[in-house]
Protein backbone atom coordinates (compact mmCIF):
# COMPACT_ATOMS: atom_id res chain seq x y z
CA UNK A 1 0.00 0.00 0.00
CA UNK A 2 1.97 3.01 -1.22
CA UNK A 3 2.08 6.18 -3.30
CA UNK A 4 4.97 7.70 -5.24
CA UNK A 5 5.65 11.44 -5.32
CA UNK A 6 5.93 12.70 -8.91
CA UNK A 7 6.05 16.43 -8.13
CA UNK A 8 6.58 17.54 -4.53
CA UNK A 9 4.77 20.90 -4.58
CA UNK A 10 6.11 23.93 -2.73
CA UNK A 11 6.44 22.51 0.78
CA UNK A 12 4.76 19.20 1.51
CA UNK A 13 5.37 17.41 4.79
CA UNK A 14 3.95 14.53 6.81
CA UNK A 15 2.18 15.86 9.93
CA UNK A 16 0.00 14.58 12.75
CA UNK A 17 -1.26 16.32 15.90
CA UNK A 18 2.27 17.19 17.01
CA UNK A 19 5.08 16.21 19.35
CA UNK A 20 4.43 17.01 23.01
CA UNK A 21 6.37 16.42 26.20
CA UNK A 22 9.79 17.47 24.88
CA UNK A 23 9.70 21.29 24.99
CA UNK A 24 12.14 21.25 27.94
CA UNK A 25 14.70 19.71 25.57
CA UNK A 26 14.15 22.50 23.04
CA UNK A 27 11.90 20.40 20.80
CA UNK A 28 9.04 22.21 19.01
CA UNK A 29 5.50 20.82 18.85
CA UNK A 30 5.31 20.84 15.00
CA UNK A 31 2.15 19.04 13.79
CA UNK A 32 -0.49 20.14 11.28
CA UNK A 33 -0.69 23.95 11.01
CA UNK A 34 -4.47 23.62 10.63
CA UNK A 35 -5.07 20.71 12.96
CA UNK A 36 -8.85 21.05 12.69
CA UNK A 37 -8.78 20.34 8.94
CA UNK A 38 -6.44 17.40 9.53
CA UNK A 39 -8.84 15.94 12.11
CA UNK A 40 -11.89 16.37 9.86
CA UNK A 41 -10.10 14.66 6.94
CA UNK A 42 -9.19 11.69 9.12
CA UNK A 43 -12.66 11.39 10.66
CA UNK A 44 -14.25 11.45 7.18
CA UNK A 45 -12.13 8.43 6.28
CA UNK A 46 -12.75 6.53 9.52
CA UNK A 47 -9.14 7.04 10.61
CA UNK A 48 -7.96 7.99 14.08
CA UNK A 49 -8.35 11.75 14.09
CA UNK A 50 -4.60 12.26 14.49
CA UNK A 51 -3.46 9.76 11.83
CA UNK A 52 -0.50 11.14 9.80
CA UNK A 53 -1.52 13.14 6.70
CA UNK A 54 0.22 15.17 4.00
CA UNK A 55 0.23 18.93 4.50
CA UNK A 56 0.58 20.76 1.17
CA UNK A 57 1.45 24.47 1.11
CA UNK A 58 0.35 26.96 -1.61
CA UNK A 59 1.08 24.44 -4.38
CA UNK A 60 0.08 20.78 -4.11
CA UNK A 61 1.83 17.54 -5.04
CA UNK A 62 1.37 15.08 -7.89
CA UNK A 63 1.09 11.52 -6.59
CA UNK A 64 1.04 8.20 -8.42
CA UNK A 65 -1.01 5.65 -6.48
CA UNK A 66 0.79 2.30 -6.51
CA UNK A 67 -2.20 0.75 -4.68
CA UNK A 68 -5.90 1.62 -4.60
CA UNK A 69 -6.67 4.12 -1.86
CA UNK A 70 -9.48 6.10 -0.32
CA UNK A 71 -8.51 9.75 0.16
CA UNK A 72 -9.92 13.04 1.48
CA UNK A 73 -8.73 16.59 0.80
CA UNK A 74 -9.44 19.21 3.47
CA UNK A 75 -8.44 22.72 4.51
CA UNK A 76 -7.89 25.29 1.76
CA UNK A 77 -9.33 24.78 -1.72
CA UNK A 78 -7.01 22.94 -4.10
CA UNK A 79 -7.18 22.46 -7.84
CA UNK A 80 -6.82 18.70 -7.48
CA UNK A 81 -7.54 16.49 -10.48
CA UNK A 82 -7.75 12.84 -11.42
CA UNK A 83 -7.32 13.09 -15.19
CA UNK A 84 -9.66 15.97 -15.99
CA UNK A 85 -12.05 15.35 -13.08
CA UNK A 86 -11.87 17.84 -10.24
CA UNK A 87 -11.75 16.16 -6.81
CA UNK A 88 -13.92 18.01 -4.26
CA UNK A 89 -12.64 18.72 -0.76
CA UNK A 90 -14.21 17.04 2.30
CA UNK A 91 -15.43 14.12 0.20
CA UNK A 92 -14.03 10.58 0.44
CA UNK A 93 -12.80 9.59 -3.05
CA UNK A 94 -11.42 6.28 -4.31
CA UNK A 95 -8.20 6.45 -6.33
CA UNK A 96 -7.45 3.28 -8.34
CA UNK A 97 -3.99 1.74 -8.40
CA UNK A 98 -2.00 3.28 -11.25
CA UNK A 99 -3.91 6.59 -11.22
CA UNK A 100 -2.14 9.93 -10.89
CA UNK A 101 -3.59 12.61 -8.62
CA UNK A 102 -2.47 16.11 -9.62
CA UNK A 103 -2.81 18.70 -6.87
CA UNK A 104 -2.18 22.20 -8.21
CA UNK A 105 -2.76 25.69 -6.86
CA UNK A 106 -4.09 26.11 -3.34
CA UNK A 107 -6.51 29.01 -2.89
CA UNK A 108 -8.68 30.53 -0.14
CA UNK A 109 -6.07 29.54 2.42
CA UNK A 110 -2.47 28.36 2.58
CA UNK A 111 -2.69 24.63 3.24
CA UNK A 112 -4.59 21.64 1.92
CA UNK A 113 -4.45 18.30 3.72
CA UNK A 114 -4.44 14.99 1.92
CA UNK A 115 -5.45 12.12 4.17
CA UNK A 116 -5.43 8.47 3.12
CA UNK A 117 -7.61 5.81 4.71
CA UNK A 118 -5.27 3.77 6.91
CA UNK A 119 -3.00 6.78 7.55
CA UNK A 120 0.47 7.50 6.17
CA UNK A 121 3.05 5.23 7.78
CA UNK A 122 6.34 6.74 8.89
CA UNK A 123 8.51 5.79 11.88
CA UNK A 124 7.44 7.63 15.04
CA UNK A 125 10.11 9.88 16.50
CA UNK A 126 9.43 10.87 20.12
CA UNK A 127 5.91 9.43 19.75
CA UNK A 128 4.99 11.57 16.73
CA UNK A 129 4.93 11.28 12.94
CA UNK A 130 5.24 15.05 12.48
CA UNK A 131 8.09 16.46 10.41
CA UNK A 132 10.39 18.81 12.34
CA UNK A 133 11.92 20.82 9.50
CA UNK A 134 14.31 22.84 11.67
CA UNK A 135 15.54 19.77 13.54
CA UNK A 136 15.56 17.59 10.41
CA UNK A 137 13.74 14.62 11.94
CA UNK A 138 10.30 12.99 12.02
CA UNK A 139 7.89 12.62 9.10
CA UNK A 140 9.47 11.30 5.92
CA UNK A 141 13.24 11.45 6.54
CA UNK A 142 12.91 14.70 8.46
CA UNK A 143 12.31 16.82 5.37
CA UNK A 144 9.88 18.11 2.75
CA UNK A 145 8.83 15.53 0.17
CA UNK A 146 10.71 15.36 -3.09
CA UNK A 147 10.08 13.66 -6.44
CA UNK A 148 10.65 9.91 -6.27
CA UNK A 149 9.74 9.51 -2.58
CA UNK A 150 7.53 6.51 -1.90
CA UNK A 151 5.18 6.74 1.07
CA UNK A 152 3.46 3.73 2.61
CA UNK A 153 -0.02 3.85 4.06
CA UNK A 154 -1.89 1.55 6.41
CA UNK A 155 -4.29 -1.16 5.32
CA UNK A 156 -7.06 -0.46 7.80
CA UNK A 157 -8.86 2.32 9.61
CA UNK A 158 -10.77 2.23 12.89
CA UNK A 159 -14.26 2.81 11.54
CA UNK A 160 -16.33 3.29 8.38
CA UNK A 161 -15.97 6.46 6.31
CA UNK A 162 -18.65 9.09 6.96
CA UNK A 163 -19.93 12.39 5.58
CA UNK A 164 -20.27 15.88 6.95
CA UNK A 165 -23.72 17.38 7.48
CA UNK A 166 -24.76 19.78 4.72
CA UNK A 167 -23.33 23.23 5.44
CA UNK A 168 -21.49 21.95 8.52
CA UNK A 169 -18.37 23.86 7.46
CA UNK A 170 -20.32 27.13 7.30
CA UNK A 171 -20.32 27.07 11.12
CA UNK A 172 -16.56 27.71 11.17
CA UNK A 173 -15.53 31.34 11.53
CA UNK A 174 -13.91 32.70 8.40
CA UNK A 175 -12.63 36.19 7.71
CA UNK A 176 -13.41 37.51 11.20
CA UNK A 177 -10.67 38.92 13.45
CA UNK A 178 -8.39 36.33 15.02
CA UNK A 179 -9.19 36.17 18.73
CA UNK A 180 -6.41 36.70 21.26
CA UNK A 181 -5.99 36.79 25.02
CA UNK A 182 -3.45 39.00 26.80
CA UNK A 183 0.14 37.76 26.63
CA UNK A 184 2.61 37.04 29.44
CA UNK A 185 4.13 40.54 29.03
CA UNK A 186 1.04 42.55 28.01
CA UNK A 187 1.77 44.98 30.84
CA UNK A 188 5.12 45.85 29.25
CA UNK A 189 3.09 47.87 26.73
CA UNK A 190 1.22 51.10 27.48
CA UNK A 191 -2.57 50.81 26.88
CA UNK A 192 -2.40 52.83 23.63
CA UNK A 193 0.35 50.55 22.31
CA UNK A 194 -1.65 47.45 23.23
CA UNK A 195 -4.69 49.01 21.51
CA UNK A 196 -2.63 49.35 18.31
CA UNK A 197 -2.54 45.57 18.11
CA UNK A 198 -6.34 45.40 18.33
CA UNK A 199 -7.17 48.44 16.19
CA UNK A 200 -4.70 47.95 13.32
CA UNK A 201 -4.83 45.89 10.22
CA UNK A 202 -1.71 43.83 9.50
CA UNK A 203 -0.35 42.07 6.43
CA UNK A 204 1.29 38.65 6.53
CA UNK A 205 4.84 39.09 5.21
CA UNK A 206 6.48 36.83 2.63
CA UNK A 207 9.03 35.88 5.31
CA UNK A 208 6.51 33.70 7.12
CA UNK A 209 6.61 29.98 7.65
CA UNK A 210 5.45 27.31 10.09
CA UNK A 211 7.80 28.69 12.77
CA UNK A 212 6.45 32.22 12.68
CA UNK A 213 4.17 34.57 10.78
CA UNK A 214 5.73 38.01 10.44
CA UNK A 215 3.14 40.75 10.29
CA UNK A 216 3.52 44.26 8.96
CA UNK A 217 1.41 47.08 10.41
CA UNK A 218 1.26 50.78 9.70
CA UNK A 219 3.02 51.85 12.88
CA UNK A 220 5.43 50.05 15.16
CA UNK A 221 4.27 48.85 18.60
CA UNK A 222 6.69 50.02 21.26
CA UNK A 223 7.45 49.02 24.83
CA UNK A 224 6.61 51.22 27.83
CA UNK A 225 10.34 51.35 28.59
CA UNK A 226 13.38 49.73 27.02
CA UNK A 227 14.10 46.65 29.08
CA UNK A 228 15.46 43.23 28.32
CA UNK A 229 13.37 40.09 28.84
CA UNK A 230 15.25 37.16 30.36
CA UNK A 231 14.62 34.31 27.90
CA UNK A 232 11.44 32.45 28.82
CA UNK A 233 9.11 29.79 27.41
CA UNK A 234 6.91 30.55 24.39
CA UNK A 235 3.32 29.26 24.28
CA UNK A 236 1.92 28.19 20.90
CA UNK A 237 0.43 31.19 19.10
CA UNK A 238 2.26 33.82 21.16
CA UNK A 239 2.44 37.23 19.50
CA UNK A 240 5.85 38.69 20.23
CA UNK A 241 7.05 42.20 19.54
CA UNK A 242 10.71 42.36 18.49
CA UNK A 243 12.76 45.58 18.42
CA UNK A 244 11.28 46.79 15.10
CA UNK A 245 7.80 46.84 16.67
CA UNK A 246 6.20 44.57 14.05
CA UNK A 247 4.41 41.54 15.54
CA UNK A 248 5.36 37.90 14.91
CA UNK A 249 2.89 35.08 15.61
CA UNK A 250 4.96 32.14 16.80
CA UNK A 251 3.57 28.98 15.36
CA UNK A 252 3.85 25.17 15.30
CA UNK A 253 7.57 24.94 14.36
CA UNK A 254 8.45 27.74 16.81
CA UNK A 255 11.40 27.90 19.17
CA UNK A 256 10.44 26.69 22.64
CA UNK A 257 12.04 29.71 24.34
CA UNK A 258 12.69 33.30 23.30
CA UNK A 259 13.69 36.72 24.49
CA UNK A 260 11.09 39.09 23.02
CA UNK A 261 8.09 40.27 25.05
CA UNK A 262 4.79 38.61 24.19
CA UNK A 263 1.94 41.11 23.93
CA UNK A 264 -0.92 38.67 23.26
CA UNK A 265 -1.68 35.06 22.34
CA UNK A 266 -3.95 33.54 19.71
CA UNK A 267 -6.70 31.45 21.35
CA UNK A 268 -6.58 27.67 20.85
CA UNK A 269 -9.91 27.69 18.94
CA UNK A 270 -8.49 30.06 16.28
CA UNK A 271 -5.10 28.38 15.83
CA UNK A 272 -6.35 26.52 12.73
CA UNK A 273 -7.12 29.86 11.08
CA UNK A 274 -3.53 31.04 11.61
CA UNK A 275 -2.46 27.88 9.78
CA UNK A 276 -4.43 29.05 6.75
CA UNK A 277 -2.96 32.56 6.51
CA UNK A 278 -1.14 33.26 3.25
CA UNK A 279 1.57 35.83 2.56
CA UNK A 280 -0.10 39.24 1.89
CA UNK A 281 -3.34 38.24 3.68
CA UNK A 282 -4.85 40.90 5.90
CA UNK A 283 -5.06 40.10 9.63
CA UNK A 284 -6.98 41.78 12.45
CA UNK A 285 -7.13 40.81 16.10
CA UNK A 286 -9.89 40.97 18.72
CA UNK A 287 -9.37 40.43 22.45
CA UNK A 288 -11.40 37.92 24.47
CA UNK A 289 -11.09 36.76 28.08
CA UNK A 290 -9.60 33.38 28.97
CA UNK A 291 -13.02 31.92 29.97
CA UNK A 292 -14.39 33.08 26.59
CA UNK A 293 -11.42 31.48 24.82
CA UNK A 294 -11.90 28.16 26.60
CA UNK A 295 -15.64 28.27 25.86
CA UNK A 296 -14.88 28.86 22.14
CA UNK A 297 -12.67 25.76 22.18
CA UNK A 298 -15.44 23.77 23.89
CA UNK A 299 -17.92 24.92 21.22
CA UNK A 300 -15.50 23.88 18.48
CA UNK A 301 -15.02 20.41 19.99
CA UNK A 302 -18.79 19.99 20.32
CA UNK A 303 -19.16 21.05 16.69
CA UNK A 304 -16.63 18.39 15.64
CA UNK A 305 -18.70 15.76 17.48
CA UNK A 306 -21.94 16.77 15.78
CA UNK A 307 -20.82 17.76 12.27
CA UNK A 308 -21.67 14.35 10.82
CA UNK A 309 -24.56 12.90 8.85
CA UNK A 310 -26.54 10.23 10.73
Amino acid sequence: MSVRVLKPGLSTTVQDSGRFGYAHLGISPCGAADALSMRIANLLLGNREDAPVLEMTLLGTALEFLSTAEIVLSGADCDCRLGTDLIPTYTPTTIKAGAVLQCGNITNGARTYLAIRGGIEVPLVMSSASTDLRGGFGGHEGRRLKAGDVLRFGASAISRPRLLRRNALADLRRGEPIRVTQGAQSDWFAPEQYQKLLASSFRVSEQSDRAGLRLTGESAISLREQKQLLTDGIPLGAIQIPQDGQPIILFVDQQTTGGYPKIANVIAADMHRVGQLRPRDEVRFAEVSIPEAVEALRVQERWLQTAWQE
Binding site: A23, H24, G135, A184, L230, T231, G233, P235, T256, I290
Partner: protein, 225 residues
Protein backbone atom coordinates in the same frame (compact mmCIF):
# COMPACT_ATOMS: atom_id res chain seq x y z
CA UNK B 1 6.29 33.69 42.86
CA UNK B 2 4.06 35.27 40.22
CA UNK B 3 1.49 33.23 38.27
CA UNK B 4 0.64 34.74 34.88
CA UNK B 5 -1.84 33.18 32.43
CA UNK B 6 0.24 33.39 29.22
CA UNK B 7 -2.56 32.03 26.99
CA UNK B 8 -5.79 30.03 27.30
CA UNK B 9 -3.62 26.88 27.40
CA UNK B 10 -0.61 27.93 29.44
CA UNK B 11 0.57 29.47 32.69
CA UNK B 12 3.88 31.24 33.29
CA UNK B 13 5.33 30.82 36.78
CA UNK B 14 7.86 33.60 37.46
CA UNK B 15 10.19 32.98 40.39
CA UNK B 16 12.22 36.20 40.34
CA UNK B 17 13.57 38.95 38.14
CA UNK B 18 17.29 38.18 38.17
CA UNK B 19 19.25 35.02 37.38
CA UNK B 20 20.19 33.46 40.73
CA UNK B 21 21.06 29.92 41.89
CA UNK B 22 18.17 29.61 44.36
CA UNK B 23 15.69 30.87 41.74
CA UNK B 24 16.97 28.20 39.40
CA UNK B 25 16.67 25.48 42.03
CA UNK B 26 13.02 26.43 42.57
CA UNK B 27 12.37 26.23 38.82
CA UNK B 28 14.00 22.78 38.60
CA UNK B 29 12.12 21.62 41.70
CA UNK B 30 8.72 22.48 40.21
CA UNK B 31 9.78 21.25 36.76
CA UNK B 32 10.72 17.77 38.01
CA UNK B 33 7.71 17.54 40.32
CA UNK B 34 5.26 18.37 37.51
CA UNK B 35 7.08 16.16 35.02
CA UNK B 36 6.59 13.17 37.28
CA UNK B 37 3.09 13.87 38.42
CA UNK B 38 0.76 15.19 35.82
CA UNK B 39 -0.42 13.73 32.55
CA UNK B 40 -2.71 16.66 31.79
CA UNK B 41 0.37 18.83 31.22
CA UNK B 42 1.52 18.90 27.60
CA UNK B 43 4.84 20.68 27.81
CA UNK B 44 7.14 22.35 30.31
CA UNK B 45 9.51 25.15 29.29
CA UNK B 46 12.02 26.21 31.98
CA UNK B 47 13.59 29.65 31.38
CA UNK B 48 16.14 31.77 33.26
CA UNK B 49 13.68 32.85 35.97
CA UNK B 50 10.44 31.12 35.03
CA UNK B 51 8.66 27.92 34.09
CA UNK B 52 6.02 27.94 31.35
CA UNK B 53 3.43 25.16 31.64
CA UNK B 54 1.32 24.17 28.59
CA UNK B 55 -1.82 22.20 29.35
CA UNK B 56 -5.09 21.08 27.83
CA UNK B 57 -7.64 23.71 28.89
CA UNK B 58 -10.51 21.25 28.36
CA UNK B 59 -8.94 18.87 30.90
CA UNK B 60 -7.81 21.41 33.52
CA UNK B 61 -8.42 25.07 34.34
CA UNK B 62 -5.83 27.71 35.22
CA UNK B 63 -7.21 27.68 38.78
CA UNK B 64 -6.72 23.90 39.12
CA UNK B 65 -3.16 24.21 37.84
CA UNK B 66 -2.45 27.04 40.30
CA UNK B 67 -3.63 24.81 43.16
CA UNK B 68 -1.41 21.99 41.97
CA UNK B 69 1.60 24.34 41.79
CA UNK B 70 0.97 25.72 45.26
CA UNK B 71 0.79 22.18 46.66
CA UNK B 72 4.03 21.18 44.90
CA UNK B 73 6.02 24.27 45.84
CA UNK B 74 4.94 23.85 49.47
CA UNK B 75 6.03 20.22 49.49
CA UNK B 76 9.34 20.49 47.64
CA UNK B 77 11.82 22.55 49.55
CA UNK B 78 14.81 20.29 48.84
CA UNK B 79 16.88 21.04 45.80
CA UNK B 80 17.73 18.47 43.15
CA UNK B 81 21.18 19.88 42.59
CA UNK B 82 23.12 17.54 44.91
CA UNK B 83 21.84 14.46 43.06
CA UNK B 84 22.76 15.65 39.59
CA UNK B 85 26.01 14.20 38.26
CA UNK B 86 28.49 16.33 36.33
CA UNK B 87 28.41 15.49 32.61
CA UNK B 88 31.85 15.73 30.96
CA UNK B 89 31.94 17.15 27.46
CA UNK B 90 35.24 16.68 25.58
CA UNK B 91 36.07 19.78 23.53
CA UNK B 92 38.85 20.41 21.05
CA UNK B 93 39.76 24.09 21.42
CA UNK B 94 41.60 24.78 18.19
CA UNK B 95 41.71 27.63 15.72
CA UNK B 96 39.98 25.66 12.97
CA UNK B 97 37.19 24.13 15.07
CA UNK B 98 36.89 27.31 17.13
CA UNK B 99 37.35 30.09 14.55
CA UNK B 100 36.62 32.89 17.07
CA UNK B 101 39.05 31.66 19.75
CA UNK B 102 41.60 34.33 18.80
CA UNK B 103 38.94 37.08 18.81
CA UNK B 104 37.75 36.02 22.27
CA UNK B 105 41.38 36.17 23.47
CA UNK B 106 41.77 39.66 21.99
CA UNK B 107 38.48 40.90 23.41
CA UNK B 108 39.13 39.52 26.90
CA UNK B 109 42.84 40.52 26.81
CA UNK B 110 43.77 36.96 27.80
CA UNK B 111 46.20 34.54 26.15
CA UNK B 112 44.41 31.78 24.17
CA UNK B 113 45.65 29.15 26.67
CA UNK B 114 44.09 31.09 29.52
CA UNK B 115 40.74 31.33 27.67
CA UNK B 116 40.78 27.53 27.30
CA UNK B 117 41.86 26.98 30.90
CA UNK B 118 39.15 29.25 32.32
CA UNK B 119 36.42 27.81 30.07
CA UNK B 120 37.29 24.23 30.99
CA UNK B 121 37.85 24.67 34.74
CA UNK B 122 34.34 25.88 35.56
CA UNK B 123 31.33 23.70 36.42
CA UNK B 124 28.27 24.84 34.50
CA UNK B 125 24.55 24.62 35.21
CA UNK B 126 22.22 23.57 32.42
CA UNK B 127 19.72 26.39 32.97
CA UNK B 128 17.33 25.36 30.20
CA UNK B 129 17.22 24.14 26.60
CA UNK B 130 15.75 26.15 23.75
CA UNK B 131 16.51 27.89 20.43
CA UNK B 132 16.86 24.52 18.65
CA UNK B 133 16.39 20.90 19.71
CA UNK B 134 19.00 20.15 22.37
CA UNK B 135 20.55 23.63 22.61
CA UNK B 136 21.48 24.10 26.28
CA UNK B 137 21.95 27.52 27.88
CA UNK B 138 24.80 27.02 30.35
CA UNK B 139 25.24 29.30 33.35
CA UNK B 140 28.41 29.70 35.38
CA UNK B 141 30.99 30.82 32.84
CA UNK B 142 33.87 32.82 34.41
CA UNK B 143 32.88 36.47 33.79
CA UNK B 144 36.39 37.22 32.44
CA UNK B 145 35.43 35.29 29.27
CA UNK B 146 32.36 37.39 28.44
CA UNK B 147 32.43 38.42 24.76
CA UNK B 148 29.57 39.90 22.73
CA UNK B 149 28.04 37.87 19.89
CA UNK B 150 29.09 38.40 16.29
CA UNK B 151 27.66 41.52 14.63
CA UNK B 152 26.56 39.35 11.69
CA UNK B 153 25.56 35.76 12.50
CA UNK B 154 27.07 32.93 10.47
CA UNK B 155 24.79 31.24 7.97
CA UNK B 156 25.89 27.83 9.19
CA UNK B 157 27.51 26.78 12.44
CA UNK B 158 28.76 23.16 12.55
CA UNK B 159 27.06 20.72 14.94
CA UNK B 160 29.03 20.38 18.19
CA UNK B 161 30.44 23.94 18.06
CA UNK B 162 31.00 25.49 21.48
CA UNK B 163 30.24 29.20 21.62
CA UNK B 164 30.19 32.25 23.86
CA UNK B 165 27.55 35.02 23.78
CA UNK B 166 27.93 37.65 26.49
CA UNK B 167 28.18 35.76 29.80
CA UNK B 168 26.56 32.64 28.35
CA UNK B 169 28.17 29.60 26.81
CA UNK B 170 26.55 26.75 24.91
CA UNK B 171 26.93 24.00 22.32
CA UNK B 172 25.20 23.94 18.92
CA UNK B 173 23.62 20.46 18.74
CA UNK B 174 22.84 20.60 15.01
CA UNK B 175 24.04 22.70 12.11
CA UNK B 176 22.10 25.99 12.22
CA UNK B 177 22.70 29.68 11.58
CA UNK B 178 24.16 31.32 14.68
CA UNK B 179 25.88 34.38 16.10
CA UNK B 180 27.77 33.00 19.10
CA UNK B 181 31.61 33.26 19.15
CA UNK B 182 32.94 29.78 18.44
CA UNK B 183 35.88 28.64 20.56
CA UNK B 184 35.95 24.87 19.98
CA UNK B 185 33.96 21.80 19.08
CA UNK B 186 32.85 18.57 20.76
CA UNK B 187 32.84 15.25 18.90
CA UNK B 188 29.78 14.15 20.93
CA UNK B 189 26.32 14.08 19.39
CA UNK B 190 24.45 16.47 21.69
CA UNK B 191 21.12 15.68 20.05
CA UNK B 192 19.99 12.46 18.41
CA UNK B 193 16.25 12.19 17.77
CA UNK B 194 16.39 8.38 17.83
CA UNK B 195 18.08 8.19 21.24
CA UNK B 196 16.05 8.16 24.46
CA UNK B 197 16.43 10.73 25.89
CA UNK B 198 17.30 12.52 22.64
CA UNK B 199 19.59 15.11 24.27
CA UNK B 200 22.71 14.68 26.42
CA UNK B 201 21.59 17.53 28.69
CA UNK B 202 18.39 18.06 30.66
CA UNK B 203 17.47 21.17 32.65
CA UNK B 204 19.16 21.07 36.05
CA UNK B 205 22.14 18.96 34.94
CA UNK B 206 25.70 20.13 35.56
CA UNK B 207 28.49 20.02 33.00
CA UNK B 208 32.25 20.48 32.56
CA UNK B 209 34.36 20.82 29.44
CA UNK B 210 37.38 18.55 29.07
CA UNK B 211 40.05 19.87 26.63
CA UNK B 212 41.13 17.25 24.07
CA UNK B 213 43.60 17.23 21.20
CA UNK B 214 42.61 17.36 17.55
CA UNK B 215 43.71 13.72 17.22
CA UNK B 216 41.48 12.68 20.10
CA UNK B 217 38.63 14.71 18.59
CA UNK B 218 38.95 12.84 15.27
CA UNK B 219 39.20 9.47 17.06
CA UNK B 220 36.06 10.11 19.15
CA UNK B 221 34.18 11.35 16.12
CA UNK B 222 35.01 8.20 14.16
CA UNK B 223 34.02 6.06 17.12
CA UNK B 224 30.65 7.79 17.18
CA UNK B 225 30.05 7.20 13.45
Amino acid sequence: MKLIPASDSSLLVVFGDTIAPDTQQRIFGLFYALQQRNVRIRNLHPGYVSLLIDFDPLAMSHAELVELIQAETGRRAAATRENSAVIEIPVCYDAELGPDLADVATHTKLPVDEVVRLHSCATYDVCFLGFTAGFAYLGGMPPALATPRLATPRRAVAAGSVGIAGVQTGIYPTETPGGWRLIGRTPLRMFDPRRQPPTLFSPGDRARFLPISRKEFERLREERA
